[in-house]
């Protein structure tokens, strides 16, 4: 029973800690890491009307961490009047991708079809990625809503990756590896990854070798990006909660040890 009671205290503490710090909404002036800065600058420097491809390669369960990342990148693109082609390599990312795109688009009065399009989901990621290198409309003869790709204004003049300035892969797993290994190396396309904090180390080797252009990682990356953009959002809001949760875990470890040494001392006596 003590086992359960201890757990309740720990759980309750975490719940309070995060809820309160989330409500406080303190803004963090964190300095952008070089990776985030690089991502921001690249998109910032693209001329108006350039096309970027955003791929939603994640599951629904990691949406809490993915959403701020996706929103900040999409907002930046729409703010600078870039055009967006959305795709998804993961079935679960499909509906979410569409919703995030249309949500952001409405913030900036962008119209479906002329400013952005969502092509939907294709299984067999590698063949889909390679196929788009030859012809995007061959892989996606129609968009997510069933309109023939040829009839969509954004897609006019777009054949394959040559007309796309960058691929942004939003991921909670290893799918971006396919973009890096196939599109990056075969079609010399710049690939940027917006990913969950847990995945950052997985992509370090690709970043070091230059195969991956840049990374925006975790809530922290989102917060830094939001600061550069001057539009605080979910990332910023989460930073204080993140920090307090971290400190909470450290304190728990310390208390655990204090209790342990106290018990051991008693045991000896």
């Amino acid at each position: 029973m003590t086992r359960l009671k201890t757990r309740w205290v720990i759980f309750g503490g975490l719940f309070l800690m995060i809820t309160l710090s989330y409500l406080l909404n303190v803004r963090f002036e964190s300095v952008a890491s070089p990776e985030v800065q690089k991502s921001y600058t690249y998109i910032e420097d693209l001329p108006e009307g350039s096309v970027i491809m955003v791929s939603f390669d994640h599951e629904a369960s990691s949406l809490p961490e993915i959403q701020p990342l996706a929103l900040v990148v999409l907002r930046h693109a729409f703010k600078n009047n870039l055009k967006i082609i959305g795709v998804s390599l993961f079935a679960e990312g499909t509906a979410i991708g569409y919703r995030l795109l249309s949500q952001t688009a409405s913030e900036f009065d962008k119209r479906y079809g002329t400013d952005y399009v969502f092509l939907g989901f294709k299984p067999q990621q590698i063949s889909a990625i390679l196929g788009m290198g030859e012809s995007i409309r061959h892989v996606f003869p129609e968009d997510y809503l069933g309109t023939p790709t040829d009839e969509i204004p954004v897609m006019h003049g777009i054949v394959n990756y040559d007309q796309v300035e960058m691929v942004v892969s939003i991921t909670d797993g290893a799918l971006t590896v396919h973009w890096i290994e196939y599109v990056g190396s075969q079609y010399h396309q710049q690939v940027m990854a917006a990913l969950t904090a847990a995945m950052i180390t997985t992509y370090d080797p690709y970043l070091a070798s230059g195969q991956l252009f840049s990374v925006v990682g975790g809530l922290k990356g989102a917060a830094e990006y939001e600061n550069l953009l001057g539009q605080p959002g979910g990332g910023n809001r989460g930073m204080l909660a993140q920090t307090s949760a971290h400190l909470y875990v450290i304190v728990l470890i310390i208390i655990g040890n204090i209790l342990y040494f106290r018990d051991r001392k008693r045991g000896k006596e």
Binding site: L63, T243, L252, N257
Partner: protein
């Protein structure tokens, strides 16, 4: 026959998939695509078998009057999704997607987020400095934890540097050791399977 045929199938599939790895030839690519397709299709059928078994077990429990309401909820959920898909398709704004976004996805994300609590309770319990190894485990965890709190980054640049060092050298070395071991273990197991020595999956009867 009951043993030999599966072993032969396993061997052929194994050898073909092994060899195609080294070849960019169209035939090799075709082998890969074909076997991969077969694999996916067979998997879809096994899913049907699994679902059939799931339904069977649940009906059996209901007939025994065990947990009837919960079993019914489960079966209702199972039936609901295909029915919605039949009514309105599976595209955006369909009832199917609505059920996914408002019922399934939030629950999955919430179960995932239970991890935050379990990380806390595990930290409390699992990092006690019982012996030399535990002390090292504790120290490494604290260094990285402290180094990654956004505040420490603002206070000093040393901590993130230490964190970086620990992660990229000693920690990375051990990770590589683990990976090499797993690579070898997987390789020998796979080889036993292809050679028909490992027949776990053929057991029974």
């Amino acid at each position: 026959m009951q043993q030999r045929l599966p072993i032969a199938v396993c061997f052929i599939a194994g050898v073909l998939m092994f060899l195609q790895y080294f070849s960019p030839h169209p035939v090799a690519r075709a082998v890969f695509v074909t076997i991969n397709d077969y694999w996916q299709i067979i998997f879809a059928f096994t899913l049907l078998v699994g679902i059939a078994a799931f339904v069977k077990t649940n009906l059996k429990q209901i007939s025994r009057g065990k947990d009837t309401p919960y079993r019914l909820i489960g079966l209702a959920g199972l039936v609901l999704m295909p029915v919605l898909a039949l009514i309105g398709g599976i595209k955006i704004d369909s009832p199917f997607q609505w059920a996914f976004e408002n019922m399934l996805a939030p629950m999955q994300a919430t179960v995932f987020s239970l991890l935050a609590f379990f990380v806390a309770s595990a930290s409390f319990r699992g990092f006690r400095a019982r012996n030399a190894q535990a002390v090292i485990l504790l120290a490494a965890a604290l260094v990285v934890l402290i180094g990654r709190v956004p505040i420490t980054e603002m206070i000093s640049e040393t901590f993130p540097k230490i964190t970086f060092w620990v992660q990229n050298y000693p920690s990375m070395a051990a990770r590589r050791g683990i990976l090499i071991g797993i690579g070898l273990g997987s390789m020998t197991t796979a080889l036993r399977v292809i050679l028909g020595i490992e027949r776990t999956y053929l057991r029974g009867e």
